[in-house]
Each structure stands twice: as structure tokens, then as C-alpha cells.
């Protein structure tokens, strides 16, 4: 069977310049080229996306998912290997990236439409639909530099989804605009799915991938570590996240926090419910530490970090289990990450830190907008 996207043994090596030698003086003074090291962002990555298939790409920050996306779109060229695409491709890498701020929305529709490979006639045919979708109305003849960021993004999305591509590549852009517009975007994406379009979706949110995709590819350190049914891939993604224990630079004795587990083995919580976890700690010393927890949103924004005055525990040398408890998780449904730090109770120095110690899926229904559900009521007295 023919595939819409074939990624064939794609590798990409970035040269990291430790001192940037982009001026002539530096090149002349140090003809050796200065110090640099090579970073393998992608290592022989291969996967396919079939026609009418929606595939998600999951991976931590720095796993290579943006690089593979840019390579598929042709923004980056692979160092070796190749990507074969069948049909037209539209990419939502950054909405409105091709806009020229001085020009009107109308001019920009034509400019960015032709950047996506459309003919003038096709764009003219789609024009009204794009304007209607973007909800810009009369602002379409205003220079886009006067647009609010919401208007800018709406126009960008409207152009990209209305170009009717064979292949649509989406990079974490679905969380734009207000809730109504988001719903409209999601509706448009499912319509594209039903129309037999191939969609490649990159997301931090395991939940979003679960809803939209039938298959998912998990990248880690530039390699494909899982490629299969979405449920299996999300499990693989979780296990990678949990393995990500990062030690901190501390002159004194250190500790190490291992994987966070839960009694039930599940990481989903109903909105507003309590969460309990167990963190295994390897300590090199005996002493008092403060346990600091921070929770981040699906967009990686810090939502809350506990104060250092809380969570006092006494560590003993060797292995011990630490019980973690969050009495109430008021956040809206989505995928949240929890990071754990241990700080010396006296000096405040960090002795251990785990980014993404646990990935917590908050489930439930909410029609609220924002980050968490507000206990709100109004009545006439």
C-alpha cells in the first residue's frame, strides 16, 4: 500500500558551536573553526503515515519531535535518509509565520496561501471561506500588525486548514484562541480526517493524541522507541518520562529520586480529586530536606510550586520511599506534569531534582475556560 508520508532512515546532525564563529575576524583568527560538537537530533528515524491516517508523535522536550516535523515539512534537510511525500502538504508549525506585518489580512491570505503552494485562482476560490472561518470580518483589509494575537492566529489557522491539503502537519497549535474557536478548529480537523486526509500531529498532550490519533510514534533521544496503536505508544511515552531522573550539581552529598509510582499503578485523577504517589529516594546522606513539588500545564506553564517551608522530611542514607500527596487537583481535564525537588533544609541547596517525575492525566468534564475550575456561584439576595 502506498503511504502519504514515508520517513526513511532520516538522520539529522546539528553542529553545536560553542563559540559562534560567524564573523570573518573569528574565522581568520581561528581557522580551525573553533570548538564545536555534533548533536544527533535524529538517528535513522523511519515511520510511515498512510492515506486517511492520523498519527501522533509523542516525545519529551528535545526528543527530536520538532526536528522530524520540520524535516517532513522541508524546513530542514536531513543529513542522510529521505522523506517521501505523496500529495500537497500544509503545515501548522507556527500560525501566521509567513505573514508580512505591514500588509493587510487580504494580501497575507494570498501571500501565505501561495507559500503553501496554492495557485492564485485556488486562493480566490477559498478566500471567502477563509475570511468567514477567521471571523475577522471587516478587519481583513487592516494591516496584520494591528491585529490582536488572537486575530493573527485565527487568520493563520483559517488559511492553513482551508487550503485543503492532502497531508496536514500540526505542531501543538490547537490550543489557540478562545474555547469556541478551539472547538471549531477541532471540528475542522475531524472533518479533514473524515475526508481521508493524512494528519500528523505533534503534541505534549497524551490526551489529545489519544482522542485524535489511531496510531502514535514515540521518539526519545532522536530514535523511534515505539510505533503502534495509540494506547501502547502512550504507555511507552509514560515509561520514558518516568525514567527521566536528572541529578543536580551539588557540591555536597546528593540524593536521587527514582520513578514515581502509585499504589494503583494509574496516573489518572478525576478533576478535583486527590492524588497519591510514591517516590523512591536514594540518599547519600542523613539529614533534613524539604520536598518541593511543582505542577505544569499541558502547555508547560508553571501552575503551582509549593513553598520551601513545607514538606520537611528526614532522609537516611540508602533507599527509602517517600509518600507524596496532593489533596485536591482542581485543574481542568488534560495532561499535567509533576516535578519534584529535594532541598537541603538548612542551606536550601537542591540535592535532587526530577523534571516530569509523574505525568498526571486529569479526567472529567468541564466547560470552564482557563486553567482550573472555579467554585463559583451567583444569586440574588
Amino acid at each position: 500500500m502506498l503511504n502519504a508520508i514515508e520517513v526513511d532512515e532520516v538522520s539529522k546532525t546539528f553542529r553545536i558551536h560553542h563559540e559562534r564563529h560567524s564573523s570573518l575576524k573569528e574565522r581568520l583568527l581561528r581557522p580551525g573553526g573553533g570548538s564545536h560538537s555534533d548533536f544527533e537530533a535524529l538517528r535513522a528515524v523511519s515511520f510511515n503515515v498512510g492515506p486517511a491516517e492520523t498519527v501522533g508523535i509523542l516525545g519529551r522536550n528535545g526528543s527530536g519531535k520538532s526536528t522530524i516535523l520540520k524535516t517532513i515539512c522541508g524546513v530542514l534537510q536531513p543529513s542522510s535518509g529521505e522523506v517521501r511525500l505523496r500529495g500537497t502538504l500544509a503545515a501548522l508549525l507556527e500560525l501566521g509565520a509567513g505573514f508580512q506585518p505591514e500588509l493587510s489580512g487580504r494580501d497575507n491570505i494570498y501571500l501565505s496561501g501561495s507559500m503553501l503552494g496554492l495557485s492564485k485562482r485556488t486562493i480566490r476560490g477559498l478566500f471567502d471561506e477563509i475570511v468567514e472561518f477567521s471571523e475577522l470580518g471587516d478587519f481583513i483589509d487592516t494591516p496584520v500588525k494591528f491585529y490582536s494575537s488572537g486575530m493573527y492566529v485565527r487568520l493563520g489557522f483559517a488559511v492553513a486548514v482551508n487550503v485543503d491539503p492532502d497531508i496536514l502537519v500540526v505542531d501543538e497549535v490547537l490550543a489557540v484562541g478562545d474555547e469556541k474557536f478551539q472547538a471549531k478548529c477541532m471540528a475542522r480537523i475531524s472533518r479533514l480526517q473524515n475526508d481521508g486526509r493524512s494528519i500528523l500531529l505533534v503534541s505534549h498532550s497524551a490526551a489529545q493524541v489519544q482522542t485524535l490519533c489511531s496510531r502514535a510514534v514515540v521518539l526519545d533521544h532522536g530514535s523511534v522507541i515505539a510505533d503502534g496503536a495509540v494506547g501502547t505508544s502512550i504507555d511507552a511515552f509514560r515509561s520514558v518520562l518516568h525514567a527521566d531522573t536528572r541529578e543536580v550539581d551539588s557540591a555536597g552529598p546528593r540524593a536521587r529520586v527514582e520513578a514515581v509510582t502509585t499504589e494503583s499503578g494509574r496516573f489518572d485523577v478525576v478533576m478535583g480529586g486527590a492524588w497519591r504517589g510514591i517516590a523512591r529516594v536514594h540518599s547519600e546522606f542523613a539529614g533534613d530536606v524539604r520536598v518541593v513539588a511543582a505542577i505544569r500545564s499541558p502547555r508547560n506553564e508553571l501552575l503551582s510550586a509549593t513553598p520551601i517551608s513545607q514538606g520537611l522530611v528526614s532522609l537516611r542514607p540508602g533507599v527509602q520511599d517517600l509518600s507524596l500527596q496532593i489533596a485536591r487537583l482542581p485543574f481542568l481535564p488534560g495532561t499535567y506534569t509533576l516535578s519534584i525537588s529535594l532541598r537541603d533544609a538548612d542551606s536550601g541547596d537542591s540535592v535532587a531534582h526530577v523534571e516530569q517525575a509523574a505525568i498526571i492525566e486529569i479526567t472529567g468534564e468541564s466547560s470552564s475556560d482557563g486553567v482550573f475550575e472555579l467554585d463559583f456561584d451567583a444569586k440574588i439576595l
Binding site: 560567524s22 575576524k25 501571500l111
Partner: protein
């Protein structure tokens, strides 16, 4: 919202296959540029629009600015330094119109990839289009200046040699190929070596004086070079043939009555046959095509790293 027509969905077997790989052949590059010709068109239009957007006179500046430059050069070289070329305004304009095209392409294209890095990092399209759009914009300004030139010729009651007007597109073609290639090459190199931009700005001044715009090739250059058989050296400058051709077409007079006593007749532009002018410009086109092919090869190698270098 209108429904998507089922006919727009081609079966996957019929869709064209596009390959993203480390190496693209010359023909593939040309094909991808050709497919993006409408984008090129929009980029040229938006370049021109944006450049004059906020100014009251708008695009008229593309005519006023070169006319003012012309006045300055006329005052300095014609009136103050008295270079003794009769109808100096027309002589000057013939060369300046060519030179303005060169600077309007070379200087903006050198920095165009760096300036437009926001789209280079996010949107895939043939990167050559960026440099080529400055060539297109340069041609737009060239046409605007041609209008001003026509007005000047009417004011000074001179006429071009109508029978040689067909040489204008020939000379222009050579210029577009060779200057476009230089712009393309510089746009890619400047991504990796930002000094190029500053070097180019300085070099343009030298280049200006290496081109027979404010002086006459026949009077001031040829006599000293021809004895040593070094005339060819002067023509390493790819702009010189176009300038000489334009002078032949628009200035017309090979010999003029001298205004300085002692010389009855002055030779201002070379006494060459039409065939010589044609051959000279065809040579520029030929050399230009070779440079273009080499440039495309280098550009193809370098562009894969644009997004990560910016």
C-alpha cells in the same frame, strides 16, 4: 462553509511524490522554483508595497530618489569637476539606471535570508525565491526609472537610437542572470558569515567607480589600457558591458563636438559595431548561465542548514 468537493481528492496513486533529502539536483531546484512562481510574484509585490507603505509619496520615491542622485552626480562630476562630456545628464542616466538595478538587487538580497528568518525557520518553500524576489523588485524599480528617463530625454530633447532598442532586453537579460546569481550566492553566504553584508556595502562603492558611469570608457580608460593589451581586464566587471550598451542606445553619440578648445571631436563611447554589442552581451549571458549553475549548486548545499544557523 462550502463542502469539499469529492473530485478534489485525488487517489494516492495519482499524487505527485515530493522528496525531502540532503541533495537536490539542479533540475529539481529549477522545477521547484518554477512551481513557486506565483509565490515569487506575491513576494515581489509585497516587497514593493512594504518598502513605500508608510511614506506619503509612496512608490513615487522609486522615481524621485534616483533623479536626486542623478542631480548630485551631475553637479559633482559635470559642473564641479568638469569632465567635459556633453549632454552629461543623459550619459549619466544611461549608466545610473543600470547601476541602480545592480545595487537594488545585490544589497537587499545579501541580507534577505537573514532578514526573513522568521519564515525561513517555519515555512518550507524554495529559499531561492527570497533572493529572486529582490531581482523582481529591482526590475520593477528599473521600469519606474525608465519612465523618469523618458521624461528627462523629452526635457533635454534627445532621442534614443530606436534601431538599437532591441538590445535593451538582451543587455538586461545578461544583467539579471549574472546579478541575480551574485545576489543568490551572497544571500546564502551571509547566513554563515554575517560580515558579508558589510563587505558588500563597501565593495559596492568601489564597484561603482569600476563601472563607466561618471566617466567615459573611451576617453578615460581605454587609452591607457589598450597599449598594454589589458582592455579585457576592465570587462571582468560584468556590469560594464550593460552600461556601455545602454550608453550606446540612449546616449547615441559616439563622437561629439568638443566643448574644450584644442579638441575638435571627442570620442565618448566606443566605436563598436552592433554585432560587437550583441556578442558582448551574449557573452555576459553565457558566463552568467555558468555562474548561475555553480551558484545553484552551492546554494543547494547551503540552504539545508539555513533553518538551524539562523
Amino acid at each position: 462553509m462550502s463542502e469539499v468537493t469529492p473530485s478534489s481528492r485525488r487517489p494516492i496513486e495519482d499524487r505527485p511524490v515530493r522528496v525531502v533529502s540532503a541533495r537536490l539536483g539542479f533540475l529539481q531546484q529549477i522545477r521547484s522554483i518554477w512551481r513557486s512562481r506565483e509565490l515569487l510574484n506575491y513576494m515581489v509585490v509585497s516587497d514593493v508595497k512594504v518598502k513605500y507603505k508608510e511614506s506619503a509619496l509612496g512608490i513615487v520615491w522609486s522615481m524621485v530618489a534616483p533623479a536626486l542622485t542623478l542631480v548630485i552626480y551631475y553637479l559633482v562630476f559635470g559642473a564641479l569637476l568638469k569632465n567635459g562630456i556633453p549632454h552629461f545628464v543623459i550619459f549619466l542616466f544611461s549608466g545610473l539606471i543600470v547601476w541602480n538595478f545592480v545595487t537594488n538587487v545585490v544589497i537587499p538580497s545579501t541580507s534577505v535570508v537573514v532578514d526573513r528568518q522568521a519564515i525561513v525557520k517555519k515555512v518550507a518553500f524554495p529559499r531561492e525565491i527570497l533572493a529572486l524576489s529582490t531581482v523582481g523588485a529591482g526590475l520593477v524599480y528599473f521600469v519606474m526609472q525608465l519612465v523618469v528617463f523618458a521624461i528627462f530625454m523629452a526635457i533635454f530633447r534627445t532621442a534614443p537610437q530606436w534601431s538599437l532598442l532591441w538590445l535593451v532586453p538582451v543587455a538586461l537579460l545578461g544583467l539579471v542572470i549574472i546579478i541575480g546569481s551574485i545576489g543568490l550566492l551572497l544571500s546564502a553566504l551571509n547566513v554563515f558569515l554575517r560580515d558579508i553584508k558589510h563587505l558588500v556595502e563597501v565593495f559596492m562603492q568601489l564597484w561603482f567607480y569600476l563601472t563607466p558611469i561618471v566617466y567615459s570608457y573611451s576617453r578615460q580608460v581605454e587609452p591607457s589600457l589598450v597599449h598594454h593589451g589589458l582592455s579585457w581586464l576592465y570587462f571582468l566587471n560584468p556590469v560594464a558591458p550593460a552600461v556601455l550598451t545602454f550608453q550606446r542606445i540612449f546616449y547615441v553619440h559616439e563622437y561629439v563636438q568638443a566643448t574644450t578648445p584644442g579638441h575638435a571631436v571627442l570620442q565618448v563611447i566606443p566605436h563598436w559595431s552592433t554585432m560587437h554589442y550583441l556578442e558582448m552581451n551574449l557573452a555576459v549571458i553565457g558566463v552568467g548561465l555558468v555562474i548561475f549553475a555553480v551558484t545553484m549548486k552551492i546554494f543547494g548545499r547551503l540552504q539545508g542548514n539555513f533553518a538551524q544557523e539562523l
